[in-house]
C-alpha cells in the first residue's frame, strides 16, 4: 500500500494560529495584509482591538475592524440601538465608522448618567431644605406650646 502523504500546514496558517493565541500582546500591526488581519483581529476583546488600532499609527484598519466594532456596539448597547444608528445614518445619508459610533454612544451615556446624578442630588438637596423648614417649624411650635 502506498504511503499516504500528509500536507504540512502552511507557514501562514501556523503564524495566524500563533498570532491568535498571543492576541493580547498585539500592538502595532504595521503593514500586515488585511486578509490576514481579518483572520486574527476577530479574536480580540474590545480593549485589545482598541489597543491595536491606536498602536497602528498612520494606517486605517477599519476595512477589517468596522464589522467587529458593530458587533461590540450591538453587544454593549443592544441590537435595537444599533439599528437605530443605521437608520439615522441612512436618513442623514451619512456613514460613520462603528468605532466612532461606539465612542460617541459611550459619551452620550456618560453625560446622561452625570445628568441623572445631578438631578438626584438636586432633589435630595430640595428634600434637605424642606426637612430643615419642617424641623424649624416643629421647634417653633414646641417653643410656643411650652411658652418658651
Amino acid at each position: 500500500m502506498p504511503e499516504r502523504k500528509r500536507k504540512a500546514p502552511t507557514l501562514v496558517d501556523l503564524c495566524v494560529n500563533v498570532a491568535i493565541s498571543h492576541v493580547r500582546y498585539l500592538g502595532d500591526v504595521g503593514e500586515t495584509d488585511l486578509l490576514l488581519l481579518d483572520r486574527i483581529l476577530p479574536h480580540c476583546t474590545l480593549d485589545q482591538l482598541m489597543h491595536v488600532e491606536k498602536s497602528t499609527v498612520g494606517r486605517d484598519l477599519s476595512p477589517v475592524t468596522d464589522k467587529l466594532w458593530k458587533r461590540f456596539y450591538e453587544l454593549q448597547f443592544g441590537e435595537a440601538n444599533a439599528n437605530l444608528a443605521i437608520e439615522r445614518m441612512s436618513r442623514c445619508k451619512a456613514s460613520f465608522r462603528w468605532r466612532d459610533l461606539y465612542e460617541a454612544k459611550l459619551k452620550v451615556i456618560a453625560k446622561q448618567e452625570d445628568e441623572a446624578v445631578a438631578r438626584l442630588r438636586q432633589s435630595y438637596k430640595k428634600e434637605d431644605t424642606s426637612m430643615f423648614f419642617f424641623y424649624f417649624a416643629y421647634l417653633c411650635f414646641i417653643a410656643y406650646c411650652y411658652d418658651l
Binding site: K5, T10, L11, L14, C15, A19, T32
Partner: protein
C-alpha cells in the same frame, strides 16, 4: 550535494542560505521563480535575493521548508514559532506563498 540541486537565498542584510532546491520549492513563489522558463535571473544563477526579508526571518523560513518536507514524509512534529517573530514571519510567508 550537487550545485544544481541547491539554491541560494539571500537576506536583506546579505546573509546567504544555501538549501536544497526541493526544500526551497515548498514556497510557491520560489518555485515559480526557479521553474519559469528563461526570463528570471534566479533560474540561471540559482540565487534569489530577498531585500525585504531579514536574516532572522529567512532563517526561520528555511527551517520551515525542511520541517514541511519532513512532515510530508510522516514526521509530524511541532514547528515552533517565537511569538515576537509572528507578524514579520507571517508577512514573509504570505509573500512566499508558503
Amino acid at each position: 550535494m550537487r550545485k544544481e540541486d541547491t539554491v541560494k537565498l539571500i537576506s536583506a542584510e546579505g546573509f546567504e542560505f544555501v538549501i536544497d532546491k526541493e526544500a526551497a520549492m515548498v514556497s510557491q513563489t520560489i518555485r515559480n521563480m526557479l521553474t519559469s522558463p528563461g526570463s528570471f535571473a534566479e533560474t540561471q544563477h540559482g540565487e534569489v535575493r530577498f531585500p525585504e526579508i531579514s536574516t532572522t526571518i529567512l532563517e526561520k523560513i528555511c527551517q520551515y521548508f525542511y520541517w514541511s518536507l519532513q512532515y510530508a514524509k510522516g514526521k509530524e512534529t511541532e514547528f515552533h514559532i517565537e511569538p515576537e517573530l509572528t507578524l514579520e514571519l507571517m508577512m514573509a510567508a504570505n509573500y512566499l506563498h508558503t
